[in-house]
């Protein structure tokens, strides 16, 4: 090997080394922040889940799987899991159908489309608490907007928020209206990316609008549908703000959802260890569902880079 080649290699290595140092230097602030703000609390949650940590106590003991055993024998926790499932099952299909419908209607430019797009999107940028409180007023029994309108028509409205069967559906409705805009925007973006030629060819073959939607639009936006599905599933499993502001988990515990339960355990009864165990279960459920959806995507997401 000549000296010239050796020198060249040395220079290349030196450059690579220098680049990597700079690379690490630039990602370091983000990396350290991520480790401290995200990774560390996740690890601590796993650690606390196996302790009896209580914020009002100065001692913490390792208790193994005791918190998990207690959780599964806790009637409220079991009903909370079912209610979270009910929330998710009601929210996801209604969200997907409505947002796909809205995106189909608002993807084309027409007079006033900007207004409608803005109107649908505005709740997304509204504070969750403000949104929840606003709907709480709308659903009040004697003084709420809905029952006042019904009263003018001679109808006595129900106690919307003091009704065991209505609490979860109303929470779903309020969450649905709030989140429509974001998913609609994702779908509009995906729909506008579908080449016009496909529709022209389909029209020449005599396909009607419904056939075009199901045979062209849906398969082509499948990656976006997949993304929205995952985001909405995770969002619905993690719902908290709307429930806290709207029903506060009531009546009774009929609208308790997982994160609300975790909040109650951690910040009302100060049982951090117990709440951490519930968080771990929620974490595992979300991971499992996401992996399942990811595996299933191969069956129905065809149009993907």
């Amino acid at each position: 090997m000549t000296n010239e080649v050796k020198t060249k290699r040395r220079k290349t290595r030196s450059l690579e080394y220098s680049d990597s140092v700079w690379g690490y230097a630039f990602i370091m602030p983000m990396l350290i922040g991520f480790l401290i703000i995200t990774v560390l609390p996740v690890i601590m949650t796993f650690v606390y889940s196996m302790t009896d940590k209580n914020m009002m106590s100065r001692t913490t003991n390792f208790i193994g799987m005791e918190n998990f055993i207690k959780l599964f024998s806790d009637k409220t926790f079991r009903s909370t899991m079912w209610q979270t499932l009910e929330f998710t099952v009601l929210l996801i299909p209604s969200n997907m159908i409505l947002t796909l419908g809205l995106a189909s209607l608002l993807k084309d430019k027409f007079k006033g489309c900007g207004f409608f797009r803005t109107a649908v999107f505005t709740p997304v940028v509204t504070s969750v608490v403000v949104w929840g409180v606003l709907w709480k007023y709308i659903f009040q029994t004697d003084n709420g907007l809905i029952n006042s309108v019904l009263k003018m028509m001679g109808i006595t409205g129900p106690q919307w928020l003091m009704n065991l069967k209505m609490a979860i559906p109303i929470s779903v409705f309020v969450t649905l209206i709030k989140g429509l805009g974001m998913n609609m925007v994702i779908f509009i973006g995906a729909m506008l990316d579908v080449p016009e030629d496909y529709y022209e060819a389909a029209e020449l073959d005599g396909a009607n609008k419904f056939q075009q939607f199901f045979k062209i639009t849906l398969p082509n936006i499948a990656p976006s549908i997949f993304l929205v599905l995952i985001l909405t599933t995770i969002g619905s499993l993690k719902v908290f703000g709307q429930v806290k502001a709207l029903t506060n988990g009531g009546p009774g515990t009929s609208s308790y959802v997982m994160v609300f339960y975790i909040y109650q355990m951690a910040f009302q009864s100060y049982k951090f260890g117990y709440a951490s165990a519930a968080s771990v279960i929620l974490f595992l459920i979300i991971v499992a569902l996401t992996i399942l959806q990811w595996k299933m995507r191969k069956r129905w997401v065809f149009h993907e880079d």
Partner: protein
């Protein structure tokens, strides 16, 4: 040599970036949630330490956590200025919304970053006192005759005694309530006003519920009665706390070791309230947020400071106040109150100074100075001109005295003795009431369910 220099420069730059970043992360900046005393050095800790003394220059900085607005924090800074001067310290006030206050305080105590002095209230103090976080103030308060320790109402000053005779919080506010009524609404409905019933000696809960249903029947857009702070503590422990003792019932016994709402009297009162909401009408429904100040409510149970809201609200109707009605127990039916307390952090590095601050801010002069905001359970304050003659637009002094002072003297006060799991107990009570209002249980079934739900959290 050249290569090594380059490497050194690279490493130095990386190090410099890290140091800059970490310095940035650790920097202190005001978030607008607290105010420093005028003398406070700007380098003071924002959170206020309790394991290490906060020092601003050569002065100790005490941190106080309270709820309220900036104006309140500034006013307290003025109140505390002589204390700061005398003790060569500064004070930083952290304002936390009351909804988050106790959760945040618990987190801070657990993390070792709690303030030196903090407020507690609503029987939630039990959790903190029994956890050993509050300093016993008794020796400091009783050592100084000018503090006039015996001036406090007995129930108030003993309410933080959990068995050892200690005083773990000094009450600065209590919630004796009166019935506010809309005179104009009563006149329009052609009904006798509550003060007429008081004069006749017929002012009972039965009368009040009856009047409420008549008001709502006369105008369906009006709410006859709002017995509790609807929308705030919708169905909590405190909601029936006045009416229950009026009939010889209660939710819990004196030391919160037993659930006693399942007595015949307890069932009767709960049924009365249920009927007022759902059968006879008149009482606001749970969750319906209507304010007396709006003019749409005939009668409401409100505290002393609500008079200020009425006066400042420039309402376009006439209103008055009367004492709370009598039940079957007459004058033996004690009046419920919750207390708010000044507490010193037992684990604070500045514990003794924190105790002195609590003593200073709750002395007779300062409590009198703050009485227009907080009705303090001291005899000297309650009988002062400041309480009885608050100013123009307020009810007459004799009405205020009858409703807020004489009533307490005649019937006596009681407060619930908190338990170490008071939040869970309170949640269980609220949740079961909600099940009754939602129609899932009859009153009797609901009370039985409540008993089972509450018992694990009793003392």
């Amino acid at each position: 040599m050249k290569k090594q220099t380059k490497k050194m420069i690279d490493l130095l730059l990386v190090f410099a970036m890290l140091v800059t970043m970490l310095a940035g992360c650790g920097g202190k900046s005001g978030d607008g949630s607290g105010t420093d005393s005028a003398a406070s050095a700007q380098s003071g800790s924002e959170a206020g330490g309790d394991t290490q003394a906060d020092v601003s220059g050569d002065k100790v900085q005490l941190t106080i956590a309270m709820w309220g607005d900036e104006a309140r924090a500034e006013a307290y800074q003025k109140t505390l200025a002589p204390f700061c001067e005398a003790n060569n310290c500064t004070v930083k006030i952290e304002l936390v919304p009351i909804g988050d206050f106790f959760d945040k305080l618990a987190s801070q105590l657990g993390a070792g970053t709690a303030p030196d002095v903090f407020w507690l209230a609503d029987a939630k103090e039990a959790t903190f006192i029994q956890g050993g976080w509050c300093a016993n103030l008794k020796d400091a308060l009783t050592a100084d005759a000018s503090y006039n320790f015996d001036d406090f109402y007995t129930d108030a000053i003993t309410s933080t005694d959990y068995g050892d005779g200690g005083v773990y919080g000094v009450p600065f506010s209590f919630g004796a309530r009166a019935i506010f009524y809309n005179k104009t609404m009563f006149e329009n409905a052609g009904l006798k006003t509550p003060d007429e019933y008081v004069a006749e000696g017929n002012w009972t809960y039965e009368t009040m519920f009856d009047l409420a249903s008549k008001i709502s029947a006369a105008d369906s857009t009006k709410v006859g009665l709002k017995l509790w702070c609807v929308g705030q503590a919708t169905n909590g422990v405190q909601n029936f706390a006045d009416i229950l003792p009026a009939y010889g019932a209660n939710l819990l016994n004196e030391d919160s070791t037993e659930f006693i709402l399942d007595s015949p009297e307890g069932i009767k009162v709960t049924q009365m309230v249920y009927d007022s909401m759902y059968t006879n009408g008149g009482h606001a429904k749970p969750g319906d947020d209507v304010a007396f100040v709006s003019g749409n409510v005939g009668m409401a149970r409100e505290c002393y400071s609500y008079m200020k809201s009425m006066v400042e609200g420039n309402v376009d109707f006439e209103w008055g106040i009367v004492p709370q009605p009598y039940g079957s127990k007459g004058a033996d039916g004690k009046q419920y109150t919750g207390y708010a307390y000044w507490c010193a952090n037992e684990t604070s590095a500045n514990r003794d100074l924190a105790v002195e601050l609590v003593k200073f801010v709750t002395n007779p002069e300062n409590q009198l100075a703050w009485c227009s905001t907080f009705m303090c359970p001291r005899t000297s304050v309650m009988e002062s001109a400041e309480i009885l003659n608050p100013g123009e637009g307020y009810p007459a002094a004799e009405d205020i005295k009858a409703s807020f002072v004489d009533c307490v003297a005649e019937r006596g006060l009681f407060s619930y003795r908190g338990t170490s799991e008071w939040n869970l107990l309170s949640n269980a009570v609220e949740q079961t009431y909600e099940m009754i209002w939602a129609g899932a249980y009859s009153v009797e079934e609901g009370v039985a369910e409540m008993k089972a739900a509450v018992e694990p959290y009793l003392n």
